[in-house]
């Protein structure tokens, strides 16, 4: 019955792989190294060095509060249209998880996927993969939630959107939520 219900599973796997490859590096969240504290990092006794080194700078700032505000260049709230791409490290862990799932060790696969999630927490693919693992564990409630989480990060990537909605349709149908499943399927076909 589970096999019948999850008719889109193969499609999803392909979609995830394709989407993963399509959304290459670039874009995504901006990485910012630690601000101006590098000298502290290099010092052998960080706290002491830093306390002495930073004090004059900060005191000067608090005495002249207007100057460092740089008001004119204040930025606007940030947003992005798509989630981050999977990092190669996370991708290698997902491959490892695929191997474990194929050999039936789904619990171990989840552990690898959680490692991948910690490395690429803002990419939809990781959550769809987790969802698939929870489907295999027959924990459909968790699977549905991870699909929703993945969808929240799919943004304007229509192949990821489609994969997510179809996965959601399958899971909802398996849970007996026919209306929800139809709705999800309609979302997928509208893309």
């Amino acid at each position: 019955m589970k096999v019948n219900a999850f008719r889109h599973a193969g499609l999803i796997a392909v979609a995830i792989t394709v989407a993963g490859c399509a959304s290459g590096p670039g874009g995504g969240s901006i990485y910012v190294p630690a601000g101006g504290e590098h000298s502290r990092d290099e010092a052998p006794q960080p706290p002491q060095t830093s306390e002495r080194g930073d004090e004059p700078r900060v005191e000067r700032k608090s005495e002249q509060p207007e100057e460092p505000m740089r008001q004119p260049e204040h930025s606007t709230p940030s947003y992005q249209d798509e989630g981050d791409a999977l990092s190669p490290a996370a991708r290698s862990l997902i491959r490892r998880a695929d191997g474990l799932m194929a050999s039936g060790d789904t619990q171990a696969a989840v552990a690898q996927l959680e490692r991948a999630q910690r490395i690429s927490p803002r990419s939809a693919q990781v959550y769809f993969k987790l969802s698939q693992a929870y489907v295999a564990l027959d924990q459909l409630g968790s699977a549905e939630q991870f699909t929703l989480k993945g969808l929240s990060l799919a943004g304007s990537d229509s192949s990821l959107q489609r994969a997510g909605w179809l996965l959601l349709a399958d899971i909802r149908r398996a849970r007996g939520n026919v209306a929800g499943a139809d709705q999800a399927e309609a979302r997928a076909s509208a893309l």
Partner: protein, 788 residues
């Protein structure tokens, strides 16, 4: 007569005593010469038989003691608590300083980078030789790694030797333990895990005839004495290993003849019942080899980790010699405190190893030439992260009994990130010292840092002295959250897009509420000003009280309450209107929990400190997996996230950018309660969510607001941690439009006052205003659009 004599007898006991011996010879003499011999033998036999019976009884008793305790006693092995393992791969976020600290915390030594457990650093370039670690999901084998850190990220990550992999986990650092009452710490080893050279060296020094004697060995004592005289000092002990074990295992330390007798008897009995290998293995695990504070280091399994950061399996000859030498006096020969004594003792053991043919002379010479090689300090101190371990214990208490935690040798893998913990502790201490000139020791603080998308608690600070294991404010200080509640009030409103958008005008005007009992409530803005009408986003980003209460009363206190409950508040929530301004008490950890949902587009992610608990052999007992649960419409949460970013750029949180680089986009909210009793800040980046609280334990007033107390600590922390900026993915059903918020109208991108703002689809304004004037700017914009 009687009256006279009786007191004499009574008052002169000496007389009585001296009288009786006089009497008995008289008696025996009176029995006559002929009966003397039989009588003597009779008495002798009687005493002898009584003695035999007593001895037999005593032996039976001791036998019961020996067998029941030797068999029944399992070692109580404390649970070990580990930090999260550091993952190394291309692109991993870590600074050079943080990596070095992490390596040292895991007991790595600066060295050639070739020997397992050493690293070599040259600027940002590291060569690391890992020791390997058995995780439940597989073995991380030993590897030699090369990597460069540039811009706080790992580059050119390569496995130089060992199993190739694009991603490698370092061994997790041990950050604490859960100890039995007697504070004995040990890592159990099996005889098969111990190198032969180790046991051979131990027997050569402590008990050469171990395999031949019956528990006691008078010949050994003699031989030891001879050897000691020859060496001019004590190189061998007289008692057998069995006797030493019996002494540690069953007896007190007092040196009496009776105890010596018991020791000999029990040693014989132990040998009678058990194999030599059982006795040796128990000895290896029982022997006392050092002290770390109140914690007693027992057994060579822990000793090799404690002194060398190595598994006993991997010890080299000179390390074995040091540990074997320690048996004689762990405190006297403490290699960290008395390195010269330890070195000469070690070399003496190396001599014995060479004399007895365990190693050849070249090996011995090489071993003697080695430095002691002990790690700088105990690889960890159990008091290093008391607040964090406290929270771990509370989470463990849900599923484990205290006695199991203290004795079953469980391994607890936590989510603590030492680098983040370090930055959090540093920020709290540093900023509190600066506030009020550092003179005000009663100002306290707490901080919680979690991973935004996984809910893992990465760091926890329970007070300004992070090593003090007292009141854990992060977990136990329940304080009114003030304006931290406002995002939930507006979220509740924005979930009704037909009634509220980010530019809906809201009234910033005073009013008073009269309750049924006649009491009046007249809320005010923090600055006591009133601004008439303000757009909703500004009311939140500038944290105005009056519009918030109006909006909250309009959507209903019940609705706000159920939003809060959805996001994870389990305690009671006041239903008075003052709750809309945060008269709801929460601990910093609870605040972190409810902000998790705001930070992740409406997905509640339960906070976790533990990833996994395994038994002593590494078999998983329980896993605490990532869970997500959608509790709010992602579209409405996205709008709130927009305003929380605005708060950092233009609102009450803007002073953060005095410390934090502009490129790091952040979102957050300040909170202040009456008279500055509580100063809060809660906010997040792309990677981290952090909550800080500053106030006094006695709930006394301060001159601080959320922006001047908690925010500086928060910003200081954020500026020290390399991370991704916050940039949420636009969810389904949200569109961005250029609007003029004052006019509540769509407008052109290049108009004055134009803002690009998110709307739930269909809720954007349906009127449009064009720019008044500034034609030049519009034309420039048109051209720019053409060539984009």
């Amino acid at each position: 007569m009687i009256c006279l004599t009786a007191p004499r007898i009574r008052y002169n006991p000496a007389m009585k005593k001296s009288a009786s011996p006089r009497k008995s010879p008289k008696k025996s003499a009176r029995k006559g010469k002929s009966t003397r011999r039989p009588w003597f033998w009779r008495l002798f036999l009687r005493v002898f038989f009584v003695g035999i019976v007593l001895l037999a009884g005593w032996t039976v008793y001791l036998d019961a003691v020996v067998t029941s305790r030797f068999e029944g006693r399992r070692f109580e092995v404390p649970s070990r608590v580990y930090a999260r393992p550091l993952e190394l791969y291309d692109g991993a976020s870590v600074s050079s300083g943080a990596l070095q600290r992490e390596l040292e915390l895991s007991g790595y030594r600066a060295g050639d980078g070739n020997q397992a457990g050493t690293y070599r650093r040259n600027g940002g370039h590291f060569i690391i030789s890992t020791r390997g670690f058995l995780f439940t999901d597989g073995l991380e084998p030993r590897r030699r790694l090369s990597l460069t850190i540039y811009g706080d990220r790992i580059q050119d990550f390569r496995v130089l030797s060992g199993d190739p992999s694009p991603i490698v986990r370092l061994e997790p650092a041990q950050i604490g333990g859960i100890y039995p009452a007697h504070k004995e710490d040990r890592v159990l080893v099996q005889l098969a895990d111990v190198p032969n050279l180790f046991t051979d060296a131990l027997l050569a020094v402590e008990d050469r005839n171990f395999h031949d004697h019956l528990g006691i060995a008078p010949l050994s004592i003699a031989r030891a004495m001879l050897a000691n005289i020859r060496a001019g000092e004590i190189v061998q002990g007289g008692s057998t290993l069995t006797q030493q074990l019996v002494k540690n295992f069953f007896l007190t330390r007092e040196q009496t003849l009776l105890r010596k007798g018991n020791e000999a008897l029990m040693s014989l009995l132990l040998e009678l019942h058990y194999e030599k290998s059982d006795i040796l293995e128990t000895y290896l695990n029982e022997v006392y080899v050092g002290q770390a504070g109140t914690r007693a280091i027992h057994g060579f399994g822990l000793a090799s980790q404690f002194y060398f950061g190595e598994s006993i399996r991997d010890l080299e000859a000179h390390q074995i010699a040091l540990l074997v030498g320690l048996v004689k006096g762990p405190s006297y020969y403490n290699p960290r405190r008395h390195p010269e004594r330890a070195l000469s003792r070690r070399n003496l053991v190396i001599d014995v190893m060479a004399e007895t043919g365990l190693i050849v002379e070249e090996e011995a010479a090489r071993a003697r030439a080695q430095p002691l090689g002990v790690t700088n300090r105990a690889s960890y101190s159990e008091n290093r992260y008391p607040a964090y371990i406290d929270l771990v214990r509370r989470h463990l208490a849900r599923d484990y009994k205290q006695e199991d935690l203290q004795s079953e040798g469980l391994r607890i893998f936590t989510t603590l990130n030492p680098a983040i913990q370090y930055a959090a502790e540093f920020s709290v201490r540093d900023m509190l010292n600066r506030m009020e000139g550092g003179s005000d020791a009663t100002l306290e603080s707490a901080m919680v840092v979690t991973s935004r998308d996984s809910g893992e608690v990465l760091a926890l600070v329970g007070g300004r002295d992070p090593k003090y294991a007292g009141f854990n404010r992060a977990v136990d200080a329940s304080r009114p959250i003030g304006s931290l509640i406002k995002p939930f009030v507006y979220l509740t409103a924005l979930q009704q897009p037909d009634r509220y958008t980010l530019i809906t005008p809201v009234e910033d005007k005073g009013f008073s509420l009269v309750f049924d009992d006649g009491r009046r409530w007249e809320p005010q803005n923090y600055d006591k000003e009133e601004r008439g009408q303000v757009p909703l986003h500004e009311a939140l980003s500038h944290s105005y009280n009056l519009p918030t209460v109006r909006v909250g009363l309009d959507v209903g206190i019940d609705s706000v309450k159920s939003t809060l409950q959805g996001f994870g508040v389990t305690g009671g929530i006041s239903e008075y209107p003052s709750m809309l301004l945060g008269s709801v008490s929460m601990t910093p950890v609870t605040v972190a929990q409810i902000y998790q949902g705001l930070a992740t587009s409406g997905f509640n992610t339960p906070l976790r400190t533990i990833r996994q608990v395994t038994d002593a052999e590494g078999e998983a007992l329980s896993r605490y997996s990532l869970k997500v649960d959608q509790v709010a419409d992602p579209a409405a949460v996205h709008l709130v996230q927009y305003v929380m970013q605005e708060t950092m750029q233009e609102g009450t949180g803007r002073s953060a950018y005095r410390t934090v680089p502009r490129e790091l986009t952040l979102a957050g909210k300040t909170g202040t309660t009456d008279d500055g009793r509580d100063s809060w800040f809660a906010g997040f980046s792309g990677d981290l969510l952090a909550v800080t609280w500053v106030g006094r334990d006695d709930n006394g007033p301060t001159s601080l607001t959320g922006a001047t107390g908690a925010l500086p600590v928060w910003s200081r922390f954020m500026s020290q941690v390399p991370q991704h900026g916050f940039s949420p993915v636009v969810p389904d059903g949200v569109e961005y439009h250029w609007v003029n918020p004052e006019e509540v109208a769509l407008t052109d991108e290049h108009c004055e006052n134009a803002r690009l703002m998110p709307f739930i689809t269909g809720s954007e304004p349906d009127v449009e205003v064009s720019c008044s004037g500034n034609l030049e700017r519009r034309i420039r914009g048109w051209f720019e659009g053409l060539f984009q």
